[in-house]
Subunit: 216 residues, 2 copies
């Protein structure tokens, strides 16, 4: 904890919670809320006031005793920590239904990334539009990356294809993976940053919760 307060080591669990803080504070700003206590914020976060204070202390605090947090200031500070204002160029791999849905659902530009290219190996998909980008053939990957220097990839292909493509992506300078496949990039290539979205895992958690729910 001491180290965390100096900003050196922040646990992945705290980092995983930051986007939720950012989202909730953004909602509050949209509703004209100017300040919030750690207790109120805890209620939105489904946590305790003490956890909220501990989380935010990792970054040097921002609250004032007896006042709480200024919503806009805290939103701005957390946004800065998350790096949402600096747009890392990213490519999307796999322009199927999943790729289109992800690209359309999630506004990357407000979340720290700028989509500069989309790729697929299926000749039928090449040339199609994906959020305004023309889908390129995967054979163009190296030439494109040499010119545009993307640093992150949104991976919307199945695990075996992702594994097959992974060495090329790494060689192209990709260091961050938003990964919807079953392949574990960070395990194979230590040092890269990866966030894995396992949709199937989350619905199994719901299965547990539904089946172990206490009837009211």
């Amino acid at each position: 904890m001491k180290e965390e307060k100096t900003g050196k080591v922040i646990s992945r669990m705290v980092i995983n919670r930051l986007p939720k803080y950012y989202r909730i504070l953004g909602d509050l700003m949209g509703r004209g809320v100017v300040r919030i206590s750690s207790r109120e914020l805890a209620d939105y976060m489904n946590g305790t006031a003490s956890q909220i204070r501990q989380d935010l202390n990792c970054f040097g605090g921002f609250g004032q005793q007896g006042y709480g947090y200024n919503v806009e200031t805290l939103h701005g500070e957390i946004g800065q920590i998350l790096g949402v204002g600096v747009l890392t160029p990213a490519i999307l791999v796999g322009a199927g239904n999943l790729g289109h849905t992800i690209a359309n659902q999630v506004d990357l530009r407000t979340r720290g990334f700028r989509l500069v290219g989309a790729f697929d190996s299926d000749p039928e998909k090449v040339g199609q539009k994906l959020v305004g980008l023309s889908v390129r053939d995967i054979s163009e990957l190296e030439a494109f990356c040499a010119e545009h220097h993307p640093r992150a990839a949104v991976v919307c292909i199945p695990g075996p294809s992702a594994e097959e493509l992974s060495a090329r992506l790494i060689a192209c300078g990709i260091v961050g993976f938003w990964n919807f496949s079953a392949f574990d990039f960070a395990k194979r290539y230590p040092g890269v940053a990866a966030v894995n979205v396992h949709l199937g895992d989350s619905v199994m958690t719901l299965s547990y919760l539904v089946k172990n729910r206490k009837e009211k």
Copy 2:
């Protein structure tokens, strides 16, 4: 911890990890692995052997000193805890691109749910096929639920629409929400089970990780 060992209280964090155990053990089974040590399993889980033992002890342990875990047995036990063999009837709300993608990407039947109906309010979507189901008009929700008794809903509509529809879903007996909207069901209706998938949050975590990555 003591309580957890008796199976009374299991922390949400452990529950959130169970699907990953289940997935990894399933992969290992597929590759013919018969037994695994907690250290090897920890490596797959990106955790420590001690954490693995602690997690699995919440459910009474299953390992044997000096042998480790039998992969198939542990897979079966965790599957049973998650309730994947008991299929809770579920409906999907919102048959747009997101709804179709989710329904096609994730095999609910191997994860504790059986999709029995799909709904949309858009007349153009009504009657279309979604993983073999004919999309129904949302006006039929109550009559359908009275007949088929779904207990869970996959929510693929925007937050404001989800909020508007929420009281009807609750009144229809839905107690579990796999929620892709920004509306917080569990906050409004305490006692329901909800797993929220905020795709935007996970890519912001990647933004942090990419921007704070130490160059090797």
